[in-house]
Amino acid sequence: MTPAIELVNVSKMYRRYGGRQFSTLKSALLQRSIVRNLQPSETFPALTDVSFSVAKGSTYGVMGRNGSGKSTALKLVAGITKPTSGSVHVEGRISALIELGAGFHPEISGRENVFINGIMLGLSKREIQERFDEIVDFAELREFIDAPVKTYSSGMYMRLGFAVAINVNPDVLLVDEVLAVGDEGFTHKCLDKFAEFKRSNKTILLVTHSLNLIERFCDEALWLDEGRAMSHGDPKRVVGAYLTKVEEGEEALLAATTARAVESASRAATGQEGRDGHEGRDGQEGTEQTEHPADPTSNMFQATEGRWGSREVEIIDVAFLDRGGQPSFVFHSGDPISVRVKLRAAHPVDDFVFGVGLFNADGVCCYGTNTYLEELNPQRLSGEAEATFVIESLDLVEGTYKVDIAVHKIDGFPYDYHRLLYTFRVKSRIHDVGIYRPRHQWTFSPTVQFKKPVG
């Protein structure tokens, strides 16, 4: 079957600055061209050597981070811009849902705008007449259709734009992240409309950040990153590859955040130490004991990052280890995780407690414990030491979590207290709610039946 959309080695350069692309009169005469060739330093590659083809009747998803070239690719397919090199070929009538209601005039009524917008999109007056009711019903704007468009809410505006564009009845539909326009009900209607398109063997090119949509909807997917095609083919596989990369990025980000938090907290702590070093030793101990008692649950609602303590025993490193014992910052719900704490004791101590506190992004304590509560009786800690808190299964819902790590005396006197300095992320394919996900399964009587999952 001939492809409905075909891009062959397409590259697109944009100008980096808003400067003009024109030559001076002299060079124009010399080069016989009024458009100057741009220097490499003046251009910015939005797409580099991208090729893909979309079979007629299939749905193709394009994903990637912001600025990865998705919209550029869509504009090239739509013919709004031309590729710098390579070729773009599209078969059939195109309708592009790139910016909804782009051609609306605010002063005139919704009705008149529907007609003009339809004509802009290539319909004839008669065709619009025939579809007018359908368009208005789809947009759910019957009541307001004769009001000027400037009085519409942004949702109404988008719905009307969407309704017109979708009713152009194209052979190729280009969709750029427009499903976010409506409420739940409208989004559903849009998806139904897409499904209808699919059934009638029309081609859809979908640009979206919703991986869910790509997996559910698309026959094939393309992942763009910095203008290059990273992977394409089976949506599940492409989404998987994309998620892995996203996690890597998140890891780096979380690692940097954590390093910064630890560093700034340590600097603040040592600064304080230096300022009132020997004079207020006793007083400081007193206040610290009341302000930061040993029980990690008693001050769990004071969600301020920080580090304090005498440093007789010092926490020198904290790492979250994954299943393979590798440091990581991103975990999946249900994965094992180990919190490894490296310590150094300035002199041997016989009174010590290790504590761990786990908080979610709202500052709610999800769990807190220490070795004293768990009736471990301290005997001796000296020199370099290591303590690991092992969780067999991280049964938390998706989100970002912060961790308190502390080592202190039984009476609460802190050696080294790291408050909310460490961050990790829990990812989950299931968007359940709450904090804790108990291990669970569903069972049903034979009279309850579910459809087999598709794909």
Partner: protein
């Protein structure tokens, strides 16, 4: 280019509805609405009449009533100058369409020209009314020159509008230069003074090369002087005719060349 030109014909429905939209939108919300299209030229003419009969009377021979003479030239000039200043801005203000929708960009400057042409037509009844008031009846055979002039002006203005709109995307200074240039052009054209006025005789060659002279004078001759374009004016109208066609083609060619740069530069 030729196939694109043929497309222009296909876009007539679009052009038509955009012109209608512009006209509707212009007066939407005002109390008088569409009536303004008549009231504006009427008020203008009344002001000129008052100024040039009461404040600083112009008694130049051969152009009496002076206000009527002036109006014959000002009406087409307004069409011309507003078209150009709107067209120069049309691609920039319609940027959303060019960037986000697959949209034939040349429609925008053409719509500017046509919208102003409609305003020009709406001003004509006022002119007719004043012709009747002054008992000044142009001869029917001279009136035949009127549509010729309108057609040539349309072609000439559209050609210029295409060039200006395409270049203004890249050279934003054009808009401001144009405003001043149009003022200069207005006074350099025999609109508020007759071309045969002795004091401007030395500029004769200059008048001949100024394309708008021929348009303005043709309107004046057809509507005011009751003599039709005599002798050499016919020839010059031919020069203007060929020139307008060439200008239109050149304008379209330039526009077509720069078309691909619009979506990025707007």
């Amino acid at each position: 280019m030729l196939s694109n030109l043929a497309n222009l014909f296909r876009y007539r429905g679009l052009i038509q509805s955009l012109v209608a939209r512009e006209l509707k939108a212009r007066y939407r919300g005002s109390a008088l609405g569409f009536v303004w299209s008549f009231v504006n030229p009427l008020l203008l003419l009344l002001i000129y009449t008052y100024v040039f009969t009461a404040v600083m009377p112009n008694n130049t021979e051969g152009v009496q009533p002076y206000a009527l003479f002036m109006f014959c030239g000002i009406l087409p000039w307004t069409w011309f100058s507003s078209s150009l200043s709107e067209a120069a801005n049309s691609l920039i203000s319609g940027g959303n369409l060019i960037k986000k929708v697959l949209f034939p960009a040349e429609v925008l400057p053409i719509v500017s020209v046509l919208t102003n042409m409609v305003h020009f037509f709406l001003g004509l009844p006022i002119l007719v009314a004043f012709l009747l008031v002054y008992q000044h009846f142009p001869r029917p055979e001279n009136l035949l020159w009127f549509p010729v002039a309108v057609l040539l002006q349309l072609l000439f203005t559209t050609g210029l509008a295409l060039i200006l709109s395409a270049l203004a995307v890249h050279f934003r200074d054009i808009k401001d230069i144009l405003a001043n240039l149009l003022t200069l052009w207005f006074f350099a054209t025999p609109i508020i003074y007759p071309w045969f006025q002795p004091s401007v005789r030395k500029f004769h060659t200059f008048f001949d090369v100024n394309p708008f002279t021929h348009l303005a004078v043709t309107y004046q001759e057809a509507l005011f002087f009751n003599q039709g374009p005599v002798g050499h004016w016919k020839w010059l109208l031919g020069y203007l005719g060929v020139g307008s066609v060439l200008l239109f083609l050149a304008g379209y060619w330039l526009f077509d060349r720069l078309r691909d740069s619009f979506a990025e530069a707007v």
